[in-house]
Symmetry: C2
Subunit: 217 residues, 2 copies
């Protein structure tokens, strides 16, 4: 019981900070996506691809969460956009306070698109609003098509599920239609895009999805 009350208190404080982030992003005209997946599903690769697409088109920056190392921010900077690493230590997710702390960083000045790459964890990050416009769940073909059923919370809170690593489809027993059916069973509203960051297959539809959302925001 103490545990539930404590968690509610933490989440309620987070909601307050997330509202502040959301308001400040809106004032500046920044559209923010919160990318969430298990470790190694391809969030960083998706940010790298998006950085290359965004270059000269939409001013973009990234915030990248991990328990340790600056590796992801370094990778993303090489792809041509400013990126800041958030190392969380023992924490298994980003929270709105960490985002708020960075909103005035010079790397984020004048941007229109903010890509937030959460800590690699299919579970805990789903509960923490970061003030984003939308959560994007990234699922890798290598992980199995049953994951939306086993870890429903993320898929219920995301607007879009990106199924990545399509290039591995033939080497796994992942059934694309089954994965989509499983996701829609727990989250009927969910939009779905299938792609491969490695080969580039399906990325145009992802860029189009961002473009449409930018137009509407």
């Amino acid at each position: 019981m103490a545990r539930i009350l404590y968690k509610e208190k933490v989440l309620s404080k987070n909601e307050e900070l997330a509202a502040e982030v959301r308001e400040r992003l809106a004032t500046r005209g920044v559209f923010a996506l919160n990318l969430i997946s298990g470790p190694g599903a391809g969030k960083t690769s998706l940010v790298e691809r998006t950085a290359a697409w965004a270059w000269g088109r939409v001013r973009t920056a990234a915030l990248s969460g991990d328990q340790a190392t600056e590796n992801d921010a370094v990778r993303i900077r090489s792809a041509g956009i400013p990126a800041l690493q958030i190392t969380t230590g023992s924490e298994c997710h980003l929270n709105a306070g960490r985002i708020l702390d960075l909103l005035d960083a010079p790397e984020l000045a004048g941007i229109r698109l903010l890509l937030i790459e959460n800590v690699g964890n299919l579970i805990c990050p789903a509960a923490y609003d970061l003030g984003e416009a939308a959560k994007v769940a990234v699922l890798s073909v290598a992980e199995g098509d049953d994951k939306p059923l086993k870890y429903p919370a993320l898929f219920q809170r995301a607007e879009l599920m990106v199924i990545n690593k399509l290039d591995l489809l033939e080497l796994t027993n992942f059934q694309l239609d089954q994965a989509i059916a499983n996701a829609r069973k727990v989250a009927p509203h969910l939009e779905v895009l299938c792609l491969s960051c490695r080969t580039g297959q399906g990325l145009e539809a992802w860029y189009q999805w961002i473009d449409d959302r930018l137009d509407r925001s």
Copy 2:
């Protein structure tokens, strides 16, 4: 600060319960492994393979953790050993109390080997002792060779790292020697086995590792 104190309290209660689990397992001569990985790295497949090997050799049962569904326990039962599902709801890891509650289940009577498949999460389960003899970290080739650096806690607490999905090696940029070097950088003591649950490659060494540990326990 309140957060740190609260977490310490939860972990300290868990340590007490884990000690009780460990004592009861020792009394009964049960050797327990706590398998931890991100979602879809292949814990269930490893348990299925191990079940087939154990049949007629070592009396074995499994406990399988997920946020929702009985899918994994059903899969494992089909492989020929008793399996109980632990659905954790919003919780992102198993804890010793959940194991303690099941120790007297008829499915666990007379077993020598207990395979505990934790919730698919590379982060949170590492902090919770379940009373196991050893933690085994499972890393999939599809996840990337940098994961031990980014999420060091699990690798530091595990005795063994199993690198699974060797059959996907050529289709990824995963460097086997780099993954092992990264893991040993944060956890110099770590034993390593490389295998593919899909093709069967490398599984003999895993069975041998269990056999050796059973002999010594």
